[in-house]
Amino acid sequence: MAFFHIVVCGGLVPDPLQTLEPVSGPAGWSLKNESLLPSILDPWAANALYEADALAKANPGSKVWLASAAPKVKLQQVLMALAQKAPFELLPVDAPAGGFTDAVECALALAGAVQSIEGLDRSRLLLFGGWESASRGAGATLSVLGEKLGLTEQFQGVDKLTVDGDGSLEILERVEGGKHQVSVLSSPPAVLGWATGGRAEPPNNPQIGMANMRALMPSLQKARAAKLPGDGLTLKSVSLPRQKRNTQVVKDMPVEQIAVEIVEWIKKKP
């Protein structure tokens, strides 16, 4: 079985459960108290990481890197939640990550990080990431990054990757109309923007965590800095969805009854 060099590009996003307040300042848009808002690995990218982990385990000799552009302190925090789940090496770029960065600038910074990997076998490279982002939904960074690295075989909305006996890759990709397209790629390199994938979040494995951390923290200390100033990017306004809630938590209610209640609720709306 052939090995793969898998680079997962994963941005950090503010934990959507927290109170997020966009504020505009001299340096542009940011989130209020952003430095102390918990962050998470973008859920789409997390799917990609778990797929990469499974692929690497199934193909001995493979290796996984996680490339991420985010403030060092945020990366450090996310590593605490992530580093027990899968073995990987970190390619950190110390940069803003509040959801207001420009996709092209971010892709350029990540391209530099990927190109700096020593011993990377480009002929076996699979560039993984999320096909969307939970922060602003631009979903363009991975495509741009692939172009910058000269990777023209790109697949977006990937739900499944199968390595066939001859080393070719069969890719199940979402297309319009709720359908999938099956593509067969004879060999890497390629870019795969993952949708949900098919892997559950791995459990926390303390052995993986302890081994990971020995290398991750020194890597983090050496993170290269990138400003991502957003030249040419203008965000005219930023807002969060308005909500007023009156939730009831019920269990085991038939879907028909839920539907009836929702219809009644909609009818009551002015």
């Binding site: 459960l17 109170t19 102390l36 559950a200 303390p206 052995q207 302890m210 809630r245 009156n246 009831q248």
Partner: protein, 606 residues
């Protein structure tokens, strides 16, 4: 897996321990000061496992003199926290009853009547005490968000690269060998709610360590396991508890409250319930109540009382128009020094609230917890330098000696009798605290603390003179039929006004959980609240565990058994001390077990 030191739980105590320890783990040239005992040549391996999904999900309404915190951070580095302010103004408000539902003893009613007649004494239904007793005063202190503080401390520690912090990793049990604690076992993952292996099963791994530091709080499973295993020191027991429930709110834009304002309240909604309101910068405030175990209401609750407390005129004038940012709840171990367990043994040490460090006279716990952690770290560094192991004797001569010589112990002694008067009543309790505070703990109001299960009266006794037994039976039957909570129905019947939800601050209990607490249940873990003998619950006529459940995670099923819904649990542990059924008189074990579980609150602002 092996480590040198393994910590259970990350709160202020463990923060104090790891901060102090990490400063001694590297030499001035950055090289390791101590070696790993398994792999000589590599640095000391220090790991900490925290059950919640992030380090910033702790709960406290913190106003603190912060003596120990300031000693650890002499340059006031924590002032960079968004929700931080030095204390600028402090008042104690005695809240009169704006309605007629509050149960007030005749002495209080007489006091209320006199105060109302005194010109200018009562404003917005509250009497501001002319001075704040010195023991309560937080002079030169500060208010801050514990969640933000824990997160900030965790960041500093991780950046040092000297310790590893692992949130989302509950610890199931301590490992014993020959009477010695030799490490911990993590909780199984990939299991169903009963703990049976399911998809992705990963059995809990053993982490063996020379020293196990237990800082898992007042209801932490490892601390309680040690209490069961070793027993408590003679005369010690954790009988007194309280449930603290709080909100963090955005105040109206035109609020007159200034950052650093501290209000302590007492007298309402029930005499036994105390409250607080602290103001952060940026028009944000935190407020909440404490419902103690000596509030002998067999259908006591917290959320409904919190809503009535917020609507008291003295508070509502500030909170009207506010909106909910965050919500949370936790149990407080209020026995203080009397609840102190064995602090050390071979291979383990206890720090923080679970070790009896909270001061019930000064109403202070975070700074005390931090200090105990710092004391242990100093002791551990001393032992490491002397190349000693972590035996009971060595830990007594280093950590316990430091603790006994410190202000935490001295002031804990002063507080020991402070709340005994509350065993007799509210007025006696307040008088007892005052006497204790003014005499340095020499005197107090006599009263013998009872375990919660020993003092829960029947509903008929509690509502005698207000509701007949027939009325109570009828209400109970109606609640069983309709699913309405018993405490709500009883409060409605005795005159508490309905709470008109505004969708912003006054929201349903479930919305407080979802919008404020952001409660989540990590998949793959077993139920951490377990009824040991379901038959006992069927015949229990109190079911206080259900009424006091902060997340409405406990309910009564049709068959009369107690059902637990992990997805709503905030891990406050109130069920543990609100169970009326004792199953082991020797250990005081009740019919509900509260174990290690992931998930719960996900708000980083509490």
């Amino acid at each position: 897996m092996d480590a040198d030191i393994v910590c259970v739980g990350f709160g202020p105590a463990t923060g104090g321990f790891l901060t102090t320890l990490s400063r001694g783990l590297a030499k001035s040239d950055g090289s390791p000061a101590f070696e790993n005992r398994i792999s000589p040549g590599s640095p000391l391996q220090v790991v900490c496992y925290e059950r919640s999904d992030d380090l910033g999900y702790g709960v406290s309404g913190v106003v603190s003199r912060a003596r120990s915190l300031k000693a650890s951070f002499p340059n006031g580095e924590f002032s960079q926290l968004p929700f931080y302010s030095p204390v600028t103004e402090e008042k104690v408000l005695y809240l009169l009853d704006p309605g007629k539902a509050s149960r007030r003893p005749s002495l209080m009613r007489a006091a209320d009547a006199i105060l109302k007649r005194l010109p200018g004494a009562v404003t917005d239904g509250a009497f501001a005490l002319p001075y704040v007793p010195p023991y309560l005063h937080k002079k030169d202190g500060m208010v801050f968000s514990l969640g933000q503080f824990n997160q900030w401390v965790g960041s500093q520690l991780m950046a040092s690269g000297l310790v590893q912090l692992w949130p989302g990793t509950p610890v199931a049990r301590a490992l014993f060998e020959d009477g010695k604690v030799v490490g911990i076992r993590l909780a199984d993952q990939g299991v169903d709610k009963e703990g049976r292996p399911a998809a992705g099963f990963l059995p809990g791994m053993d982490i063996r360590a020379g020293l196990t530091v237990v800082g898992d709080g007042p209801v932490g499973p490892i601390g309680r396991q040690l209490d069961m295993h070793f027993g408590m020191p003679p005369g010690h027991a954790a009988y007194e508890w309280a449930l603290g429930m709080k909100v963090v709110v955005d105040l109206p834009a035109d609020t007159s409250l200034k950052a650093g304002t501290v209000l302590h309240t007492m007298g309402y909604p029930e005499p036994e319930i105390f409250g607080f309101l602290y103001v952060y910068p940026g028009n944000v405030a935190t407020g909440g109540i404490f419902v103690p175990s000596w509030f002998d209401n067999p259908a006591r609750t917290s959320y409904r009382y919190l809503q009535h407390w917020m609507q008291h005129p003295a508070l509502w004038k500030h909170l009207k128009g506010a909106s909910l940012r965050s919500w949370g709840a936790k149990s407080l171990q209020e026995s203080g020094l009397r609840g102190e367990p064995y602090l050390v043994g071979n291979g383990f040490a206890r720090i923080g609230e679970g070790s009896g460090s909270t001061n019930v006279l000064t109403n202070s716990g975070v700074d005390e917890a931090w200090e105990t952690g710092a004391q242990l770290a100093e002791g551990v560094l001393e032992l490491l330098r002397e190349k000693k192991t972590f035996t009971k004797t060595d830990l007594e001569q280093t950590y316990v000696r430091r603790r006994r010589q410190s202000w935490v112990y001295r002031e804990g002694q002063m507080a020991e009798k402070a709340r005994d008067g509350f065993q007799k009543g509210f007025v006696q309790g307040v008088a007892g605290m005052l006497i204790s505070g003014l005499t340095g703990g020499f005197l107090g109001w006599p009263g013998r603390p009872l375990a919660p299960y020993e003092r829960i009266p029947s509903l008929a006794d509690f509502y005698r003179g207000r509701l007949t037994e027939e009325e109570i039976d009828e209400i109970r039957k109606n609640c069983q039929l309709t699913g309405q909570s018993l405490h709500d129905a009883l409060m409605d019947r005795v005159g508490w006004p309905p709470v008109e939800l505004d969708g912003h601050l006054l929201v349903s209990h479930q919305d407080a959980l979802l919008v404020g607490g952001k409660v989540q249940a990590t998949p793959g873990f077993a139920d951490h609240v377990v009824v040991l003998k379901p038959q006992l619950c069927k015949v229990c006529d109190r079911r206080l565990c259900v009424d006091m459940c902060s997340g409405q995670a406990l309910g009564v099923a049709e068959d009369g058994e107690i059902r637990f819904d992990r997805e709503k649990c905030v891990h406050c542990g109130a069920c543990l001390w609100n169970c009326a059924k004792l199953i082991d008189a020797l250990t005081g074990r009740s019919n509900l077990d509260f174990g290690a579980g992931a998930g719960g609150l996900h708000s980083a602002e509490n």
